[in-house]
Amino acid sequence: MRVTEGMRYSQVLANLANINTQHEEAAQEASTGVRVGKPSDDPIAAAQLARLSASSSQTKAQLSTIDTVRGDAELTESTLSDASDIFVRLKELALQGANGGLTAEDRSAMSVEVSGLKQALLSLSNTRGTRGYLYSGTDVSTPAFDSNGVFQGNDQTHVVAIGNSTPTAVSTSGSDAFVVAGGRNVFADLDSLATALASNDEAGIRGAVDTIDLSHNQLVNARAKAGLILSKLDASQTVLSSLDTQQQKTAQTAGAADPYEAYTRVTTLGQTLDRAIAVSKQILDLGSTNRF
């Protein structure tokens, strides 16, 4: 085969361009740590990364949801705990008030404390969270109870998107906790005790001990349900955090470069490029007219 100057130049150019391109790609991969920088680098991985990005976004949104609603759930559990504590004190007062040795003045003074505790309970039942009144159901702009303890909210549940498809309830019904039909109206029970104490009605006070117990149990049950919501959030957060970590690992595996392999490749290609330049010089020197 005849070898011409054109062939020499073309060969040198093609070889250098080819190695330069490979070296540039390898250097890019090694310096960024990214193997898949565009869909054509690895179409299957790119499609996987796009889907993974969607799943990861959803996971992060759900984790954010948990973080946001957790505050209200904790506040609910905390206020119900405080309400429960109020009833512990109310029971103490009821038992003391039922003591036959007390005077009417003593009971009147206790009645004042009970009235104070009612105000505290009303205040707790109208606690505001990040999305509004905690115990108003979804009528979050309206206080759950008026000054007489009459429920003003609704029985709708606040649900959020956690998990794939089932809406998760994260609110506690104020009506269930404080004034449930068929259960106890804790404000009424508290009022009965206050009235009995104020009127020095020993029988009424004794009767109130039992109703205070029942109201207390109702609040304890509501607190337990609020605790279950928190537990559910904790469990979901654990699962989603683990899923988030796994998704990040998968994304890294699919799209990241192996640093050792990338560095080795860029070094090898750098050496190849040096050799190619040296050989190219020799090839081009072959065509030199100085030899004649």
Binding site: M1, R2, V3, T4, E5, G6, M7, S10, Q11, A14, V34, V36, G37, K38, P39, S40, D41, D42, P43, I44, A46, A47, Q48, L49, A50, R51, S53, A54, S55, S57, Q58, K60, A61, Q62, S64, T65, T68, V69, T130, R131, G132, S136, G137, T138, D139, V140, S141, N154, Q156, H158, V159, V160, A161, N164, S165, P167, G255, G287, T289, F292
Partner: protein, 462 residues
């Protein structure tokens, strides 16, 4: 028996012939880097004068080292490589529109839209959360519009590029026809027309990068040039190619039929930049735009259906979050934030029923779950978008592979042509020396004859 005078003539012929050889060698050296130049060899032959033997030499012309089959293969290979290269370049810009890895795709806009529904569910009564939904929905519509608009702009640009390319093809065809005319005239006068043929060669090489080219030489030195299945040059005549749009919006390549009309030759287009443009525009862009339209149409309608089922804070239901066109066509480019909700965060339907207002979140959760629900094609929005990204990557990757293959084939054929027709400076340096020495020797013959004749004249004069 030859006389001294005859020997003088022989030396003169030799000087002329070696000088011609030096001239041709000089031409080869001069054009060592000229595209389309074909190495020339001087054709020297013994001069025959009647029946006498003179041993003289004459210049019979020059030969060009060509092979029509290799030249055809090179034209074909260049056409295929140019088509693949153009296809690859154009697809790179399409790929960039869907490169979420480089933060230019619409994946994040899609993800943010659904994340905003989750955010809304956490606090439906929060104006900020409601505004965030409108903002994310607007961003999704904007991104859809931008990508679809870019695809549409690219289609329009490619139409203009195709038209500009056919103009270049027609100009080159006219130049080739002009050269055919000059070559015919030169050869009719007994000239070799090598320079003109080289110029025509160079034009053919350029033409082959614009459109598939096949040449058919005739015995008078002219050539027929066929492109896209039609003879765009036939001797000294040309037929112009033109581009317009077919009824379906695809590129339509026409060729003048010589009688004032035109004939469609689109289906015969196989190579060159024009083929790469057509492939990108009418296959890739068409399919990608359709898939994007379908995704946006399905997502928009699925979100709308769920949104319309819910209630805004004003107790109104039945409002769409997006304005989606009635058909798939152009859905991505025309998607807008719904007129009934734009600028009105309270209209975002987070509640599933009126009784749950203002903090009801059932519908917001249902909206977030649209993300996990299969669209009419049986795939979720994220899966479908991933499919589109993968498809574009696959197309670009396959074309990049084709570019490598076609360039390798082109390089191989060019090597064959270069080996046959290219200039080797080594050879030319040898030729230079060969003709120089022969010229010097002929000069010595002339000098010797001169001395002999001088001797003869001097002796006779004594």
């Amino acid at each position: 028996m030859s006389s001294l005078t005859q020997l003088l003539y022989t030396a003169r012929d030799s000087l002329t012939a070696q000088s011609y050889g030096l001239n041709v060698t000089g031409q080869n050296i001069t054009n060592v880097n000229t595209p389309g130049y074909v190495k020339r060899d001087p054709l020297l032959e013994t001069r025959a004068l009647g029946t006498a033997t003179t041993g003289s030499v004459t210049v019979a012309g020059l030969s060009r080292a060509t092979d029509i089959y290799i030249e055809r293969r090179e034209l074909s290979a260049r056409g295929s490589a140019a088509a693949a290269s153009e296809h690859d370049n154009q697809l790179a810009s399409v790929e960039a529109l869907f490169n979420d890895l480089g933060a230019t795709g619409m994946g994040s806009a899609l993800n943010n839209l659904f994340a905003s529904f989750s955010g809304l569910a956490t606090n439906p009564n929060d104006p900020t959360a409601r505004s965030a939904v409108l903002s994310a929905a607007g961003a999704f519509a904007d991104r859809s519009n931008a990508i679809a608009g870019s695809l549409s702009d690219t289609k329009n640009d490619l139409l203009k590029q195709a038209q500009a390319t056919t103009e270049q093809i027609n100009q080159k065809a006219a130049s080739i026809a002009q050269l055919n005319r000059r070559i015919l005239a030169a050869q009719a006068q007994g000239e070799d027309a090598a320079d003109l043929k080289d110029q025509r060669n160079s034009l053919l090489l350029g033409l082959s990068e614009l459109v598939d080219v096949r040449t058919i030489p005739d015995d008078k030195g002219s050539i027929i040039v066929q492109a896209s299945g039609t003879s765009i040059v036939d001797g000294t005549d040309t037929r112009a190619l033109s581009v317009d749009l077919a009824a379906d919006g695809s590129l339509k390549i026409n060729a003048d039929n010589g009688s004032g009309g035109s004939t469609e030759v689109t289906q015969f287009l196989t190579g060159g930049k024009l083929a790469g443009i057509k492939e990108t525009r009418d296959v890739d862009l068409f399919e990608v735009a359709n898939r994007l339209d379908k995704l946006v149409f399905d997502v928009g309608n699925a979100v709308n259906a769920q949104h319309a089922a819910g209630f805004g804070q004003d107790g109104v239901s039945g409002r769409n979050l997006f304005d989606v066109g009635p058909t798939l066509s152009d859905a991505a480019r025309t998607l807008r934030l719904g007129a009934a909700v734009a600028g009105n965060p309270a209209a975002v339907a987070a509640a599933g029923d009126v009784a749950s207002l203002p903090g009801g979140s059932d519908n917001a959760v249902a909206l977030a779950n649209v993300f996990n629900t299969a669209l009419p094609d049986g795939r979720t929005a994220a899966e479908t978008y991933g499919d589109i990204v993968g498809d574009i990557g696959q197309r670009k990757s396959a074309v990049a592979q084709a570019v490598e293959t076609q360039n390798a084939i082109k390089a191989q054929v060019q090597t064959m042509r270069e080996s046959m027709s290219g200039v080797s400076l080594d050879e030319e340096m040898v030729s230079l020396t060969k003709y120089q020495r022969a010229y010097e020797a002929a000069g010595r013959v002339l000098s010797t004859v001169d001395q002999l004749m001088q001797t003869l004249i001097n002796e006779i004069g004594k």
